[in-house]
Symmetry: C2
Subunit: 254 residues, 2 copies
DNA sequence: AGAAGGACCAGTGGTCCGTA
DNA sequence: AGAAGGACCAGTGGTCCGTA
């Protein structure tokens, strides 16, 4: 499988941010990213969790710009960790700087699939109820397995983007190229993933649940509420239009 | 369909029981079934809910033994209503007295199926998530539709009995005849339904979920925890036995 | 401002146990 | 005692919003 190869696409290391509970501590109140490890003697910093550094399963690191602060155990140990934010990358592109690319995003969905299969195997062995979808139980298992970078809000947020990637990789790739070229941010790209999905649904009788269920990798994900609503609204719109105009003027509601 | 014909199998009317909140009110403290409508002047009776009399969809009543107390609107209106308890009946038999038979029990499962289909149709129309099982939502819908005699604990309690009825009606009928003949109560019959189900599962690779899902009427019901556990325990037992004895001494764990 | 994710909340599956 | 079902509870799907 492709697990290890794709893991190399993630920027190594979690983002490291100081936790400040006193608003006035930093003076400017803005981002204090660069203060970590060298900062002054602010009080009120607290360690919230033990540091866990588990993003990459391999140790290769050809992206050693600057001193990755969280590599050295130094500093006062008071940082809160998050994954690097996503940026729009084209297929095969590795994100530079403290960013993660979209190949890595999609790879997280594959990892969840693997965790689901493990949970299913355990359930079968024990004669317990066997989940067919990525449930809370699976997210809990992933976390317990060390994949602390996987969480439910993130995965749910981008499900429809992954759906487009699964259902029409060409269209998905084209969208990525276009949005990267125009310098759009991840949020704009994410929004733009809805429209092609709705068009796919239109072609297949508007049954987005059937479309998800028919795809082996997509079937384990709950259909996001928003894409379901868009399909429904667009179908109503299409039906109304076609009943008046004979179907010539259908226009997406976006 | 058979809805109306089968409804006639239910004993008409709900059980009517006085609600006593003061333990000492009745003197004997026992059942006060016959006191309704003619009772003395006990205080502390309270109406808990409006009376709803909706068990039968037809009005035919060829079982008019005694005066059905809850037919007349008389009395002080302080009764709490329940369905008549089930008794073991043979196929086609109508329960006598204030009892309901097993054909009626199984018919409730078919009614739930109908309610599920209605809920599904509404969900599809609205573009909402569409349940594939009899969920809380379906029970709520049934109640709202006037089927107050359908409730979750009851339906869940007898699911495995219905499963046997669906999967091997001959075996189910034979069991009913045997338990009626021996004068066993419903609880004993219910317990006895587990064993033939486990034997069916054994024949089909122990996958009780697959067995439920493969059957069109059964697939809408969650597999009861207990039958899942029995299948698992029995499979482990069978595997252990066969690995030692070559499979000649398998014996059910009941 | 754009974005990651802890944590909350309404409604679920499951069934106990107060009731008669 | 045998049995029906109101009502509770732990853990769910869903996503908001406090955080940086």
């Amino acid at each position: 499988d492709t697990t290890n190869a794709l893991d190399a696409l993630s920027q190594e290391g979690l983002s490291v941010e100081p936790v400040q509970h006193e608003k006035e501590a930093g003076g400017s109140g803005g981002r204090t990213w660069e203060m970590v490890g060298g900062g002054g003697g602010e009080k009120q910093r607290r360690r919230k969790k033990g540091r866990s550094r588990i993003v990459s399963l391999e140790e290769e690191d050809d992206e050693t710009e600057g001193a990755e602060e969280n590599e050295s155990g130094g500093g006062c140990g008071s940082e809160r960790q998050r994954e690097h934010p996503f940026i729009v990358t084209v297929p095969g592109e590795v994100a530079r700087g403290k960013k993660n690319g979209l190949d890595y995003l999609f790879h997280l969905y594959e990892q969840c699939h693997d965790f689901l299969i493990q949970v299913q195997n355990i359930a079968k062995e024990r004669g317990e109820k066997c989940p067919t979808k990525v449930t809370n139980q699976v997210f809990r298992f992933a976390k317990k397995s060390g994949a602390s970078y996987i969480n439910k809000p993130k995965m749910r947020h981008y499900v429809h983007c992954y759906a487009l990637h699964c259902l029409d990789e060409e269209a998905s790739n084209a969208l990525r190229r276009s949005f990267k070229e125009r310098g759009e941010n991840v949020g704009a790209w994410r929004q733009a993933c809805y429209k092609p999905l709705v068009i796919i649904a239109a072609r297949q009788g508007w049954d987005i649940d059937a479309i998800f269920n028919a795809h082996p990798r997509l079937s384990i994900w709950y259909v996001p509420t928003k894409i379901r609503q868009l399909c429904h609204a667009e179908r109503s719109n299409a039906t109304a239009s076609s009943s008046v105009t004979g179907g010539a003027t259908d226009h997406l509601l976006f």
